[in-house]
Subunit: 130 residues, 6 copies
């Protein structure tokens, strides 16, 4: 039932993306609420709720995909926060980004790393630069 | 020392990619042996030899990046084999590919899944279709 | 209910992609049947079944997106057939592909046009070259 | 004659992109006026002036291509305005963007939808958020 | 005048791409002759005929762009031949491809290098492998 | 020896990217100093230090690759400055960007050209607009 998928998805969205996910949903409400609904029902209710991989593994895969596409800095910000939310350490996140250099080259990795730097600074993991 | 990086890289390449990696190196020898050397030294000697993530996690990240770029079926074939080599189960690999749907859409995922199907058939994990 | 989405999706898939869609579903059955299910439920049951655009308009959008990504020739083949299935003329399809030149450049457009040529030849719209 | 292509293109550019197109041409005048000339002559004088598809269909194709490439927010802004200029309704534009989810995934669609939201707010179609 | 652009473009196409270019034009004649015409008039009559860079420099730029996009192996084949036609040495071409590793990563570079290997073998520059 | 590669790379980085390169290295120091090290050792110590192409040719290739990927405006800014540093004229840079239109389409070229405009204005080559 759609309702069940939405509820399962919303719970998962809150667990993974937290506030960042809620803000995405909110930002769509007066332009395309169905887009928000599909994010919840399909991306989180169907896909993220599957078994077979841990949430940490799922976030490493997500970051790799967003980094590789390029131009997804807003989504990277949400999912770098999500990576911390599900228990990846900053060191593991940095390592996952570095691992992409041979596959994507340096520019995509540099953009992702500086996005991670901003996320870490905002969460007090790194001191903001004076 | 370059030599040390090459040796460490070669050992890692054999551990991860095995025969598939050796074939890539071989295919370059009379056109661009330096390209093969950089794959060994940099991709495997520098990056794959880092600590902080398991080889299973590294392969999930690699598959996600190759899948997302598109047009990398030869490299996907090498790294889907590598994923099995380092201990990911076929189920985990399928799951990692499925996880990318919300980020890349269906076409990239379909291409990767059918590449995985070929790899699994060649290794006898799936019966080849009559 | 999932079942309802699947049934609506399957009907739409048959209407739009026809045999080509059925072959994609079939090809996934012993590796990732859930991927086929998501294509049916989400892509066709949720998205293609929406109102607000005609199926002809939806196929022009689909072809533009597949063409622009590159490396999606198998999916382009399915959706060029689908474009004919829903009533676009060969001339409109060619025109839709040409329209992308300023946005994607020539290589992506050339690849799509030669894919269209194969589809048209297979359906007897163009004589196969001797 | 080049002149004729330019004149036809300029007229078409004004009809489709209006002010947004004029601003692009203006922005190039002291760095690469030939680039502006090619936009006018080739993209609008040659391609947009072709028959066989309506301007509404052309804008749906254009938005799909720009959305799919990613990193084209400035061009999307021009062409979302153009979509309204040639008579697509906001609902049709939103629908066209949503249609891309299965082909591009959510991140590209989210970026395009939020660009559409800005365009609609600037034109008073959506109330700006307080 | 269109005619003049076409003639200048055709001459330039023959100088740069030679037979490979003629085959592309031929392949389009019963599906989209206007696409061939735009390749000749715009890509070669307008752009390749500009001054300010040598044809060798233009081919290095073209190869870099095609390599970076991925999925353009047919066009790479034409333009690797073109690179030899305008006087780049095999060594310079290999060097130009290698230079892209830090920007695109290894997979795109490997695909391009193996395409170059095929081109060089077909022209007798490299011995075909037994 | 790693040390030798780093020293050669640093010298080359300073020669090519100058201050822009130093700022990239600096920005990474408290998040991923190894990423900066790989840029220096591999991209500049290994690749940029090769023979066979001039630094001018290398910068034309680099700009083409960054432009084609899209979403690399920060790296384009560094490398457009680098292009001037190694002796390309503003006219040659503009020409190199224009040459990509047939391969990438207008949006990527427009984004790169406006990035070049900013770089040229900052270096006093173009008057800033009032």
């Amino acid at each position: 039932m759609t309702n069940e998928r939405f509820e399962r998805g919303w719970e998962k969205l809150m667990e993974v993306d937290g506030e960042g996910g809620a803000r995405v949903v909110e930002s769509l409400k007066n332009i395309a609420p169905d887009l928000a609904r599909y994010v919840v029902e399909f991306a989180f209710g169907d896909i993220y709720s599957r078994e077979g991989l841990s949430l940490k593994e799922r976030q490493l895969i997500t970051i790799s995909s967003l980094l590789t596409q390029g131009g997804c800095e807003p989504q990277l910000t949400v999912h770098l926060n999500a990576a911390l939310n599900v228990g990846l350490t900053p060191g593991e996140i940095v390592e996952g980004i570095l691992h992409c250099i041979p596959y994507t080259g340096f520019p995509r990795v540099l953009n992702a790393m500086l996005t991670a730097k901003s996320v870490f600074q905002e969460r007090g993991i790194l001191a903001a630069e004076s």
